[in-house]
């Protein structure tokens, strides 16, 4: 049974990303991408990594998509309201996608994941995941912190606003 859910979700994720890249209106594209991330999160959940599923939702859907929306808003990319085609044709993919994701979530919540074929043979609870991450991959965690450090440095340097650049004028010229 979980195998069936897995295939539905992967189909949903693929459809969502396909829709995301074919939309004219960037906001619609971002929403479809969020759908894809939810579907992906559920797949992680099926594979027995609930924490990664949660991370997927928090970081990708939560932070990065927000940033995308910021950029869209900032650069005023949204074209005028081009209403075309009958209502159901525009709304069908959205309903289909969100419907399948919600249904799969409820099914997964209730059904026993290990029971059906294709289910994961182990279940990495956050406790085991945390222990493994901070114990064996301790070095990797520190390297990630470095990456975050100069990601912040880079983000600031590249994205410096006009005002801060004016004040930093002495710095550059």
């Amino acid at each position: 049974m979980t195998a069936a859910i897995f295939y539905i979700l992967s189909a949903a994720a693929l459809l969502a990303t396909l829709m995301a890249i074919t939309r004219k209106n960037p906001v619609h594209a971002v929403i479809y991408l969020v759908h894809a991330f939810f579907a992906l999160a559920l797949i992680f959940f099926i594979l027995g990594a609930p924490l990664v599923a949660a991370w997927e939702v928090i970081i990708y859907a939560g932070a990065i998509m927000v940033l995308f929306l910021f950029i869209i808003m900032m650069l005023e990319l949204t074209p005028g309201e081009a209403a075309r085609g009958p209502g159901w044709q525009r709304w069908a993919p959205v309903i289909l996608l969100s419907g399948s994701i919600v249904v799969c979530t409820l099914l997964l919540m209730t059904a026993e994941p290990q029971a059906g074929p294709g289910g994961p043979n182990f279940y990495a609870s956050p406790r085991d995941f945390g222990y493994g991450l901070f114990k064996e991959y301790a070095l990797a965690v520190e390297i990630v912190s470095f990456q975050l450090l100069f990601a912040a440095v880079g983000a600031f340097y590249v994205g410096r606003g006009e005002r801060t650049r004016r004040r930093a004028r002495g710095d550059e010229r």
Partner: protein
């Protein structure tokens, strides 16, 4: 509880990552110093970063002949890693030496430049000393992210933005391939430790043939081949090398390329020894393609930075020949070649740094006519570096090529060696053309703007000494390279 602590403590062996740790601490220190420093004063930052590199060199030399393993087998600071560390530190040192006056001349005296170079060198060190696919991947990420920023450093120049963006997009794309490859290999072998993968494959010969392993190997090699700018994945190199600031281009063509080779060698030779026939035939084709494309396209370039970009592709091809040979001589040949290449390439770029006007539009062949007599020291230095890039005997380039082709012939790849030799014959032409313009053409400008900044001159002198030492008496370094392979 107690044994947990003991268990926890003993696998943390700081000596294993000491060089990169020192570099990161210095990087963070410089970052903070810059913030509290008055605007635009970066000379102290470059001095501190030089000191940082020297300290790291001393620290990493302790690691020679007493290998340190730590972090549950993720990092191994053995001779192999130490030799490559010295190459990275050399590349970073020469880059920093030549970049202080360059940044001021181009109008971007930025404090963040030096920490980013130190961080990318630390990333390269993690890649070289990583024995776990995760550490290697993270090292590659640290290396490339800091280089994305460095490539796009000159924000008001369109070329630099283009370089940064192009490098970022293609880099992210290739890391995607790399991750996919790692995931597949993890799927096959159940572990990300390179040595364990090797053991697993030798224990289950049936798994060697199955498509998942081969696909994993192919995808992972795509990630690394992109970073060393091998043939089908070299499209980004010319534009990024031309757009990025010259010292960054110099660093990009030496440091990260060597790091990618280190990781490629460790994974292919240590981990995927079972798949040797597959990846040798893959690399065999790619090496020839890289050499031919690198050399042939370089002939049509008039911009010197772009020409050196294509020549760096060709040199990646020569080094790949050593990897195809995959025997003791070939592998230590690559180690030696990377060191020799760092010396000669960074030296050539140092001359370009000094010879360029603001905005660097005069770095073309015509811009160099009569340069040899107007600026004798720089002319002779550039000639030595070009001769070394050509592979003429008394220089490091010849010793490197000799070593690699000896490895190739020893493992029976005669045709590869012949094609390599013919390619270096083709490369004679475009390197010679620069010497022709420098010495045989009469000068159009008086090159008054070329001033001998101390930093760049010191880096040129170091590069010359390196090129001639490795060319005339390469014995000691070749001995160390032989000791360094596993």
């Amino acid at each position: 509880m107690e044994n947990l602590v003991q268990l926890a403590m003993q696998n943390v062996n700081f000596a294993a990552i000491m060089p990169s740790l020192v570099l990161c601490c210095f990087g963070m220190a410089i970052l903070l110093i810059n913030v509290f420093m008055p605007r635009g004063k970066t000379t102290s930052a470059s001095l501190i970063s030089i000191i940082a590199l020297l300290v790291t060199a001393v620290v990493s030399l302790q690691g020679w002949n007493n290998p340190q393993f730590g972090f549950a087998g993720h990092v191994a600071l053995d001779n192999f890693a130490t030799f490559f560390n010295m190459t990275f530190l050399l590349a970073a040192g020469l880059t920093i030496l030549m970049s202080d006056d360059y940044l001021r001349r181009e109008g971007y005296p930025i404090g963040e430049y030096y920490p980013l170079i130190l961080f990318s060198t630390a990333g390269a060190m993690w890649m070289a000393s990583g024995t776990d696919l995760m550490t290697i991947f993270l090292g590659l990420e640290v290396l490339s992210i800091s280089l994305y920023i460095l490539a796009g450093m000159f924000r008001h120049q369109l070329q630099s933005n283009e370089a940064g963006l192009k490098y970022f997009l293609l880099g992210a794309f290739s890391t995607g391939f790399l991750l996919y490859g790692i995931a597949l290999l993890y799927g096959v072998a159940g572990t990300t430790n390179v040595a364990d993968i090797g053991l697993y494959l030798s224990a289950h010969p049936a798994m060697i043939g199955n498509p998942m392993t081969v696909a994993g190997m192919l995808l992972m090699s795509i990630g690394f081949l992109f970073k060393i700018a091998a043939a089908p994945f070299h499209m980004w190199t010319p534009d990024v090398y031309q757009g990025a600031p010259t010292p960054v281009t110099a660093f990009m063509s030496a440091g990260p390329k060597a790091a990618a080779f280190a990781a490629l060698m460790r994974i292919f030779i240590l981990g995927l020894a079972g798949l040797q026939s597959e990846w040798t035939s893959l690399l065999w084709g790619l090496a020839i393609l890289t050499m031919i494309i690198g050399n042939v396209t370089a002939i049509y370039q008039t911009n010197l930075k772009r020409m050196l970009a294509y020549s760096s592709i060709a040199h990646a091809g020569y080094a790949l020949v050593g990897l195809v040979a995959a025997n003791a001589v070939g592998v230590s040949g690559i180690l030696f070649y990377m060191l020799a290449y760092t010396f000669m390439n960074l030296g050539a770029f140092a001359v370009l740094v000094l010879a360029g006007k603001k905005g660097e539009e005069n770095l073309t062949l015509e811009g160099f006519s009569g340069f040899g007599f107007k600026r004798p020291f720089l002319g002779v230095a550039m000639t030595i570096f070009l001769l070394s890039l050509m592979g003429i005997p008394p220089t490091a380039g010849f010793a490197g090529k000799f070593y690699i082709f000896a490895g190739a012939i020893k493992s029976g790849y005669i045709w590869l060696a012949i094609i390599g030799v013919l390619n270096s014959a083709v490369s004679l032409y475009y390197y010679l053309r620069v010497i022709v313009y420098m010495y045989f053409k009469d000068p159009q400008e008086d090159y008054s703007w070329v001033s001998m900044h101390t930093g760049a001159v010191v880096s040129i002198v170091i590069a010359i000494v390196g090129v001639l030492y490795l060319g005339i008496i390469p014995g000691k370094i070749m001995e160390m390279a032989k000791l360094a392979i596993f």
